[in-house]
């Protein structure tokens, strides 16, 4: 293997690093090879020089693997990235499902006690996940968890909002207004985030990931503009259990577990799959799924994230073009 081949294979092995980091690493190794080629004391003749250099450099695969191990985030952080979203999800799921079983012994008012049990776990899980994102050096990760914390704090303004969004319920008007008009500042915040990512990242995966929430939020704004502040929404109001699972638990599970797929793996296919899971969690958000049939425009609006991921994935596969950033970018 000659020097250009070695460097080409090394470059390929360093995918997942930022272009800047990869360039610097390649420059250092290329410098080593160049010095060996120009050092008269390195070997007596070109044949011996070539053999000694090959032995000294070792395999480009070994070198790239060892370098990836140096720069990979701590496995403890990876562990937390799986465990705490799971705790977050299970707390939400159990507090609803367990209630059914304790109801015979506890009055219905016991639901007032429920937030006391699950809220500390929610808050602790989200704080830990934000810290994990910061420790991994991943802005996109901690911004995601921060946005999720913001979303939950909005929804927790009135917990019953989870169950009834109809305008004919006077108790819901204030909290509904807060949530509906929160679209605009959220949209501005997301736009700033998107610009920052566009400026600092050349990684298609990261750019698409940053686009997903802004597309959904823009969709929410369109809905407010077209159908009014409350929109054509029909809340969940004690329907069949299967509807609750499909419209709430599955999207919640997907939305907290997609970062594990996206951030823990360096395999590009799995990272695209992570984005697809993210888009599905956004597209299947309660309560809008139940009005798709009455408002066909919403079908397209709420599936734009899914459409974007699929299109970007197909375009990248067709171009065979991979621009890589460090795994936790």
């Amino acid at each position: 293997m000659n020097a250009p081949d070695y460097l080409k294979r090394l470059k390929s092995g360093l995918r997942g690093f930022s272009p800047k980091k990869r360039t610097v690493l390649l420059e250092e190794i290329a410098g080593h090879i160049e010095m060996a080629q120009n050092d008269p004391g390195f070997a007596a003749d070109p044949e011996a020089r070539s053999q000694r250099l090959a032995a000294e450099m070792g395999s480009p695969g070994d070198l790239s693997r060892a370098l990836r191990n140096v720069y990979r985030p701590s496995r403890w952080l990876d562990f937390l990235l799986v465990v705490f979203p799971t705790i977050f999800f299970l707390t939400g799921a159990l507090q609803n499902f367990l209630f059914e079983y304790i109801e015979p012994w506890v009055s219905r008012n016991a639901s007032d006690v429920s937030p006391v049990i699950y809220m500390p776990v929610y808050i602790a899980s989200l704080v830990i996940l934000i810290v994990v994102g910061i420790l991994r050096g991943s802005k996109s990760l901690w911004v995601y968890w921060l946005s999720l914390a913001f979303l939950f704090s909005l929804l927790m303004c009135d917990a019953s909002r989870f169950y009834d969004l109809r305008i004919d319920n006077p108790h819901m008007i204030l909290s509904a207004l807060i949530v509906e008009f929160a679209w605009l500042p959220v949209l501005v915040g997301l736009a700033v985030w998107l610009v920052l990512i566009a400026l600092h990242s050349h990684e298609t995966l990261v750019r698409v990931m940053a686009l997903l929430p802004i597309i959904l939020t823009a969709g929410g704004l369109v809905r407010v503009l077209v159908w009014g502040p409350f929109g054509p929404t029909v809340g969940y109001s004690g329907g069949p259990r299967v509807e609750l699972i499909c419209s709430y638990y599955i999207p919640l599970l997907l939305s907290v577990l997609w970062p594990a797929l996206f951030y823990l793996f360096q395999n590009r296919l799995l990272r695209w799959l992570g984005l697809l899971v993210y888009a599905i969690s956004l597209s299947a958000v309660d309560p809008y799924v139940w009005v798709y049939t009455d408002y066909p425009g919403l079908i397209l609006l709420w599936n734009l994230p899914l459409l974007l991921v699929v299109c970007a994935w197909v375009v990248e596969a067709a171009q065979g073009r991979h621009i890589y950033l460090k795994p936790d970018a």
Binding site: E27, I29, G31, E34, A55, E56, L63
Partner: protein, 118 residues
Amino acid sequence: MAEIQQLPKSSAPSLILSVLAEGNKHGYAILRELDQRCGGYFSLTAALLYPALHQMEQDRLVTSRWEQSVGQPRRKVYAITPAGRKRLNSGQAGWRRFISRLSKSKGEPDDFISGDSR
């Protein structure tokens, strides 16, 4: 019996630190210095050297900076830090103790390793 020429991965940092203790060097110069010291007996590949250097930089045992000479491509030069010197000293003492105990357990004389620092 086969000779032990392949250096274990764990010994690379102490060897690199011992070279850098004598002055700042880039990766190629570190390998040449090690070659010279052991007469080419031990083999340390680039696949072992550079990851070790980068790990040591993250552990703040060494620092690096790019140096540009006239008419030459720039080179990344490494320097040992005070923490690196401390690690080197403690590592050398520990290594001497290990060799000494190994020699004794094999029934070799006490003075087999000079400078035994028990």
